[in-house]
């Protein structure tokens, strides 16, 4: 055979080397999934990786048994629609590793919905809102006056006091007996 084919043999050896390496390197499950070659070319083991991600938010039903008082208390108020974990944080590891969930009582939390924005094409425009800069004392947390579990403005106004009915210690976690909910 003529010598001119020698570079081709080198090339073929290289290709063979790559293919042998590939046989060992690529997981044998790697292949075409249900979505076909264009959209389903993958290692199927990876699907389990994503299924195994830890669930953090448990849903309000998770809170029901231990915090039944607050759970039922909030049901008849406009805030019934707010899932517990939106303000109390993800229930993961509670009550196990995390004995008490930290409560976000920051003014900004309430302003997410209640900073007034008169937007005509959004239900935001229908939510009772305040101007954060001018409403009462901007340095005071909303929960000083408003009960987040029962934002009853009528009762609040009737009392006539400046910081009337509601009191929640800043940063204090809610106890099992629902200390945050006062009548």
């Amino acid at each position: 055979m003529s010598h001119v084919w020698r570079p081709l043999f080198v090339a073929l050896a290289l290709v063979a080397g790559i293919l042998i390496f590939r046989a060992f390197y690529v997981p044998k499950e790697f292949g075409i999934g249900e979505a076909g070659y264009m959209y389903g070319w993958h290692n199927p083991n990876n699907e389990q990786y994503w299924k195994d991600i830890k669930v953090k938010f448990q849903g309000s039903a998770y809170c029901k048994d231990c915090h039944s008082k607050n759970f039922t208390y909030i049901r008849n108020t406009p805030h019934a629609i707010i899932p517990c974990e939106d303000c109390h944080g993800p229930g993961m590891d509670h009550p196990g590793k995390i004995a008490k969930l930290p409560i976000d009582i920051n003014r900004l939390l309430c302003l997410r919905c209640h900073a007034i924005l008169k937007y005509p094409n959004s239900d935001r425009g229908k939510i009772r809102g305040i101007n954060p800069a001018t409403h009462q004392d901007p340095n005071v947390e909303c929960v000083t006056c408003h009960d987040p579990h029962n934002p009853n403005l009528g009762a609040l106004k009737k009392s006539g006091q400046r910081f009337p009915t509601y009191k929640l210690e800043a940063g204090a976690p809610e106890g099992k007996s629902a200390g945050g909910a006062k009548k």
């Binding site: 001119v4 390197y25 264009m38």
Partner: protein, 418 residues
């Protein structure tokens, strides 16, 4: 604060989606620029080997070797760009051919093998001679031993340098060069396809992209060959003036006349490809303006307002029109050709920049803009890789490689049959 890829060099204005950053930065500008140089240099060498443009003999061998030196460098920006560079091999392991990038490994290595084989045929007599010479040298020393091993390996066990064998070599070279041209064009047109097929990007998506890329690739490849050729010739002229006869150099006058002849001829091809590239680019621009689809509002703002200076002054003006005039003015001198070629190279670089960065200069929302602020002084691995320093390392590497390759395959001293 955690480093978000892209945040360090992206400036946003008006409404951009929260996850949008300049994800493809300087290295992706370098990538088509470098592959363009590879492809262009190879096409130039093939003009001699395939089409028998005899006058290009000298520059042909040079550009072939240089194209080989550029090869690894075409891959370098991609490796520097990858967030997981160690996994780059996955492209060869589990290629997903519906992706334009997937075939890169295969096309690239095919091309690499073609160039390497071609070089092997051109330099085979040299390998054989050197290997035999070293074999007889009983006093080789450590480096000599290494060289002996290297050159023996490079002969691939074939020591036949008879006239008949060399004739076969010559045939093989022209065949390889013939196959090489479409492969080189494919390698680079394919880089254009990577951009042109991104339907999510209004600026990139055009079927003309691969063709535009090939034409500008050839322009940049030839430019670089002219410049490097002129530089090496000037060095040789200086050496010859110094009367360094020991190195067996041609006389000063011989070099002088050979140089200008080569440069003048090569520049003709350069201008031809430039005209093709410009025509296509303008066609694309006119078409976009005329059809004025949804994306045109924001594209117009980018092309005619925000990037006006970069596109019309730097790329078309300084990088295309000026060198065109310089080449076309009668009485082309070597110095003028060098200047024009440098400008041309700059023009092609700016074209790559305006495509890659310009394509990300507007948000997919069509209601916001992004700007790439190239990191000069690296503060992290990311800002090194995707900043000026990373780009400079890519530019320097081919010359370093060329230096070493030249030791094995001497470009100028060697008087082969081709």
């Amino acid at each position: 604060m955690m480093e978000i890829h892209g945040e360090a060099w992206t400036l946003k204005e008006f409404f951009c989606y929260p996850n949008e950053y300049i994800y493809w930065s300087i290295q992706i500008v370098m990538y088509p620029f470098m592959t363009g140089l590879v492809a262009g240099a190879f096409v130039l060498s093939s003009l001699y080997h395939v089409f028998g443009v005899k006058q290009l003999k000298d520059i042909a061998r040079f550009s072939l070797v240089f194209s080989f030196a550029l090869l690894p460098v075409a891959m370098m920006p991609l490796m520097l760009h990858l967030q997981q560079p160690l996994r780059g091999i996955h492209v060869m392991m589990t290629p997903h051919f519906t992706s334009a990038i997937a075939a890169f490994g295969i096309v690239f290595s095919t091309y690499g093998m073609i160039v390497a084989s071609e070089l092997w045929f051109v330099y085979r007599p040299h390998f054989v001679a050197t290997a035999l010479e070293l074999k007889d040298d009983t006093n080789r020393g450590l480096i000599g031993n290494f060289r002996y091993l290297l050159f023996s390996a490079l002969t691939l066990g074939c020591y036949d340098v008879s006239e008949h064998a060399l004739e076969k070599d010559e045939k093989a070279v022209s065949k390889l060069a013939g196959i090489g041209i479409p492969v080189a064009c494919f390698l680079h047109g394919y880089a254009g396809f990577i951009f042109g097929s991104v339907k999510a990007n209004a600026l990139w998506m055009t079927p003309l992209m691969p063709v535009i890329f090939i034409c500008s690739a050839v322009v940049s490849g030839i430019s670089l060959c002219i410049i490097t050729y002129i530089v090496t010739m000037e060095i040789r002229k200086i050496l010859s003036k110094m009367g360094n006869k020991a190195k067996d150099l041609p006389s000063y006058e011989e070099l002088q006349s050979a140089e200008i002849e080569e440069v003048q001829l090569t520049s003709k091809y350069l201008v031809g490809f430039l005209l093709a590239a410009i025509t296509l680019e303008l066609l694309d621009l006119i078409f976009r303006g005329y059809t004025a689809v949804k994306s045109w509002d924001i594209l117009r703002e980018v092309i005619y307002q925000r990037d006006f200076y970069k596109i019309f002054v730097m790329q078309y003006g300084l990088g295309n029109l000026l060198p065109f005039i310089l080449f076309k003015l009668p009485g082309l001198t070597v110095r003028r050709a060098a200047l024009a070629s440098s400008l041309m190279l700059f023009g092609v670089f700016m074209m790559r920049w305006n495509v890659v960065i310009g394509g990300q200069a507007f948000s997919a929302s069509y209601a916001g803009f992004m700007d790439y602020v190239i990191p000069i002084i690296p503060t992290s691995l990311d800002t090194f890789k995707e900043g000026l320093m990373g780009a400079l390392s890519v530019i320097i590497t081919p010359y370093v490689l060329f230096y070493f390759i030249n030791k094995v395959m001497p470009v100028f001293k060697y008087k082969g049959s081709h």
